[in-house]
């Protein structure tokens, strides 16, 4: 019975994982946790209660999960018709775009709608009924190792599809008085901010007040990397500040606790609604209310129980919320504050008020930072060590700002003449936060890229953390239990790595239109062929570097750049300086001047190798990577036909990577009559019809092929001709535009293929 909600939460979470991942071992884990809970119960009545509560809760979570899954999976084609919807979120307004969530009135499916400002006359408000038509899509899944799963993310918001509206009109406005007044007030506050503050300041103020992330990319990046973006998501911090503000005011006015509770609960419900009921604001508000309730009733408030009760409520609302980073960070932060902070803070007795508070603040942020490290590492692959100091400076400022904003907005509404002065002060505080953040952002080591952690390592990390802080330190016969457990887990990791290390893994990333292939060899040797590249996006950083960090690859032994076209080279350019590269291989036909990043590469002490037919890179006894094109003595004709073509051999399995060569190059390779037969072919030039001639395909004679190509690219790659040719020859092929990243693993004899998504 004790810690009932801890057990319920874990059981619910395991049930959710069982249903959503369809992995049966979660039921086993569930049974273990459930058994433990029963074992800890004291009498029959408790057992009865636990049986009912655990089963009902777990069952309802699994049903809820299955329902959300089914709704998201059941795609209907709306593209032709107009959809009649209710608006179920506050509109998020960027410069030229409005984003709102909609609920289809007929079939109850939900859509996130992207509206051009020009498409709609009146900005739709919460609860309005609107008619939209446009391109309806399923949200994209995860497409690369370590990539972001937008579909999963939207499931946490109960959103099934995306719609890019071509036409939209508001038919009917919200008539419910309560909702109308909240949404009107919100609009009015935003208008006050808009008219009184400058662009970046106003976006920041909106973030602080409503948790609306609307900052320009540059500022967003600055706040994320400086490690204080949490002050922009309405969090426990905000609710805490509001609570202390109310508390101080109430205490001065000598208001009774019951009245305090009533006023604060109304305010917090109101405020949570205005913030769009985000995970963290709901969590924090409920916890504050539970705390106040315990003060009225003279019960003992217990933060651990409160966290997990609120967590259970959150799971009931939508189990997918548990997959959100904001959920993990918000709950992780309060959990670490409740479990570790009092323990550490209790050890120090400092008299001086200021020193004491600064010191406690430091301990607080360090505690949170240590506890949330695995979450940050796995989701962002980066941490901000200096944020520990920045937090102590910026968090109190943000607190002052929040209170000042609330007062300022009211003042501006009541006494418009005072608005100038109030907002003058406000913009000064905001600028101060900007300056501070910028300063820390510019310091060296303000942002460090880190690797993702494997689940077993994460488990060890947390067990060790608890152990170090004096939990599970048994004095009696179990004294050695924990050290033995650590040793056993460590062995598991080592053995797992050892067996994993026998295989060769080739990953064809989905970099959109472009090429990028990662080869992971036994002995932690990693080779990258091309890095993709997009003029509008940083695929080198967002896809390739992210995947490297996700896989824990610290340096690349060899990077092969087939040719200089940007869809192969820009990604490499982004990698240089951000990731350690030992050797960089270029073709010897293209002009030095075409490699725009040579200077940077030399500065980073990367060995540059100009290569042609006959060069062989050997990795261990069994693996070799041979350059088979350009041929010795070839003349430059064009960039594509200068591509380095390489053949990777591991025992009986071979891969051929063809870059962007066209028929011209293929013919020369065939004429040269080297051994080029390969098990797996990377189809040349994204499957264009100018490449992959029948003769070339015949001489390679692959079992399988991979086409690296972007969705809806303007070159109409891959060509139907190429696809037909491969189908006719019975070659199984994968496409990165349809399958996401394609992973091929081999032990030198057999091959296993895995794709990231299926469409």
């Amino acid at each position: 019975m004790r810690r009932m909600f801890v057990f319920l939460f874990i059981e619910g979470l395991l049930m959710f994982l069982l249903v959503s991942c369809e992995k049966l071992y979660f039921i086993l884990l569930w049974a273990i946790v459930f058994g433990l809970q029963l074992a800890l119960s004291k009498n029959k009545e408790e057992i009865k209660l636990i049986l009912v509560a655990a089963l009902v809760f777990s069952l309802s979570i699994s049903i809820r999960t299955a329902k959300i899954d089914a709704q998201a999976a059941d795609y209907r084609d709306y593209s032709e018709s107009e959809i009649f919807c209710t608006v179920i979120s506050f509109p998020k307004i960027n410069n030229e775009e409005i984003v709102v969530d909609l609920k289809n009135i007929n079939d109850k499916t939900t859509l996130r709608c992207y509206l051009d400002r020009e498409v709609i006359e009146k900005i739709p408000g919460f609860g309005d009924k609107i008619l939209v038509s446009g391109n309806v899509k399923k949200p994209p899944e995860k497409r690369n190792p370590g990539g972001f799963d937008y579909r999963l993310y939207l499931k946490a918001y109960n959103i099934d599809y995306l719609i890019y509206a071509e036409a939209a009109s508001v038919l009917e406005e919200q008539s419910n008085f309560a909702i109308k007044s909240i949404s009107d007030l919100r609009e009015r506050i935003i208008r006050v901010l808009d008219s009184n503050l400058e662009e970046n300041e106003r976006d920041f103020a909106k973030g602080i007040l409503f948790g609306e992330k609307n900052l320009s990319d540059e500022y967003e990046d600055m706040f994320v990397k400086a490690g204080i973006s949490h002050i922009l998501a309405v969090s426990g911090l905000h609710v805490g500040i509001i609570y202390s503000f109310f508390y101080t005011v109430f205490t001065c006015l000598k208001v009774s606790v019951k009245v305090q509770f009533a006023v604060l609960s109304i305010f917090l419900i109101f405020y949570s609604c205005m913030c769009g009921l985000s995970v963290s604001v709901v969590r924090a508000s409920l916890m504050v209310l539970i705390n106040m309730y315990s003060r009225i009733t003279k019960y003992h408030y217990d933060p651990i129980n409160a966290i997990f009760l609120v967590g259970c409520i959150n799971l009931c609302i939508n189990p997918y919320k548990a997959t959100m980073v904001s959920f993990l960070l918000s709950y992780g932060a309060v959990f670490s504050i409740s479990v570790f902070y009092p323990l550490i803070a209790g050890k120090f007795k400092i008299k001086n008020f200021i020193i004491k508070n600064v010191f406690l603040g430091l301990i607080l942020t360090i505690t949170i930072q240590i506890f949330t490290y695995p979450i940050l590492a796995c989701n962002f692959n980066g941490i901000s060590p200096l944020s520990i100091i920045l937090n102590i400076l910026a968090v109190p400022l943000a607190g002052v700002l929040l209170i000042a904003l609330i007062i300022g907005v009211f003042l501006a509404a009541l006494a418009p003449f005072s608005a100038d002065m109030v907002f003058g002060c406000l913009s000064m505080i905001i600028d101060l936060i900007f300056i501070l953040t910028k300063y820390f952002y510019d310091l060296p080591f303000s942002y460090i890229r880190v690797f993702s952690l494997e689940p077993l390592i994460i488990l060890m990390y947390y067990m060790f953390l608890f152990y170090v802080f004096g939990y599970f330190q048994f004095e009696n016969k179990y004294k050695n239990l924990m050290p033995i457990l650590f040793a056993a887990m460590f062995m598991c990791v080592l053995i797992g790595n050892h067996f994993n290390d026998k295989s060769l893994k080739v990953t064809f990333f989905d970099v959109g239109q472009g090429d990028s292939v990662l080869i992971e060899m036994p002995g932690n040797i990693d080779v990258l062929i091309d890095g993709g590249g997009n003029l509008n996006k940083n695929v080198g950083e967002d896809v390739v570097l992210k995947a490297l960090l996700h896989k824990g690859i610290s340096d690349l032994d060899l990077v092969i750049l087939t040719h200089t076209h940007f869809d192969h080279s820009k990604g490499i350019q982004e990698l240089i300086g951000n990731h350690k590269i030992k050797r960089l291989v270029l073709n010897n036909l293209e002009d030095e001047k075409d490699f725009s990043f040579l200077e940077e590469a030399t500065k980073m002490k990367i060995d540059l190798i100009k290569s042609e037919e006959g060069d062989i890179f050997r990795f261990g006894k069994q693996i070799s990577l041979e350059v088979i094109y350009p041929l010795i003595g070839d003349e430059y004709v064009d960039s594509n036909n200068s591509s380095l073509v390489t053949r990777l051999v591991y025992d009986q399995i071979s891969f051929i990577f063809t870059g962007d060569i066209e028929e011209y190059g293929e013919r020369k390779i065939i004429e040269r009559n080297n051994e080029i037969q390969s098990t797996i072919l990377k189809v040349a030039h994204h499957g264009s019809d100018s490449s992959t001639s029948e003769a070339f395909l015949d001489s390679i004679d692959p079992k399988m092929a991979v086409i690296s190509v972007g969705e809806n690219n303007r070159y109409a790659h891959p060509a139907d001709k190429t696809l037909e040719l491969m189908s006719n020859k019975g070659i199984k092929y994968y496409r990165t535009d349809l399958n996401g990243a394609v992973m091929i693993e081999t032990d030198g004899k057999k091959i296993w293929t895995e794709i990231t998504c299926e469409e």
Binding site: M1, R2, R3, M4, F5, V6, L40, K42, I290, S294, T297, K298, Y299, H300, Y301, D302, P303, I304, N305, A306, L309, S338, V339, P342, L343, A345, G346, F469, G470, Y471, Q473, F474, E475
Partner: protein, 242 residues
């Protein structure tokens, strides 16, 4: 019901501030064990610890004639125990008071002194005044006594604790603000017996949470002896070292 599950009294260990996850105890295992250091040199009369190893009775016991016979004190009044006593008195922690009773019982068991409480006819907790009880909601000494007897056989334990016979009729100033002499004077006439019949000829155990100068315990013993008790022994959870 949800309140019972949500709000628990013993979420944290009161001394080290670690979260108590699954134990029903009010202290973590580590802290409990750290309190178990055996105390060797105790005052033969009142049971408090004497720091000077050559002496067998504490200064108070030598200088003033206590009205009780013998005493047992489970713990010294050090930092950890101080935290617990504070919470027992001012932290709205009835469960902790009972737990302190259990700790005292375990201590007696460990030192093979169970005979000290087993031959008693009555257990009487040092009372609070009516106002004090209203403010606190419980009498920590009474709960301590109940916690102590909860480790016994049920039928015996049920009626042995008498908390309504000895009552406090006068509001006294806080003992901690006074010096030795003032303390003695402060409690004179503060206690009264309502039913002397039940006291007459009985072997009584007087229970309190903490003993500093022993003046409260002495005054209670005085009243009890005056009502005709055969013998009064005292038992305290913690006492200040001599």
């Amino acid at each position: 019901m949800i309140e019972k599950i949500l709000f628990i009294e013993n979420g944290y260990c009161p001394t080290c501030k670690r979260v108590l996850f699954f134990t029903e105890d009010h202290m973590c295992q580590k802290c409990l064990e750290s309190l178990e250091a055996i105390r060797l040199n105790r005052c033969l009369k009142c049971g408090r610890e004497i720091l000077n190893p050559g002496i067998r009775a504490c200064r108070d016991c030598i200088s003033m004639e206590y009205k009780f016979n013998r005493g047992f004190s489970a713990y010294g009044y050090d930092h950890k125990i101080k935290d617990i006593i504070y919470l027992m008195k001012f932290g709205n922690r009835p469960g902790l008071c009972r737990f302190a009773g259990k700790m005292t019982y375990r201590k007696l068991e460990k030192e093979n002194r169970l005979g000290f409480i087993e031959d008693k006819d009555l257990i009487i907790p040092v009372p609070l005044s009516k106002a004090g009880l209203n403010e606190r909601g419980y009498n920590q000494s009474e709960l301590l006594a109940l916690g102590l007897t909860s480790q016994w056989n049920v039928s015996e334990a049920a009626n042995i604790v008498h908390s309504n016979n000895l009552i406090k009729i006068k509001e006294t100033a806080h003992q901690r603000d006074l010096n030795r002499r003032e303390r003695l004077k402060n409690v004179v006439g503060a206690f009264k017996i309502t039913d002397p019949e039940k006291i007459r000829g009985q072997n009584i155990l007087l229970v309190d949470d903490v003993m500093t100068t022993g003046s409260t315990l002495n005054e209670c013993s005085n009243v009890l002896m005056g009502a005709g008790a055969k013998n009064v022994d005292i038992l305290v959870f913690a006492s200040v070292d001599d």
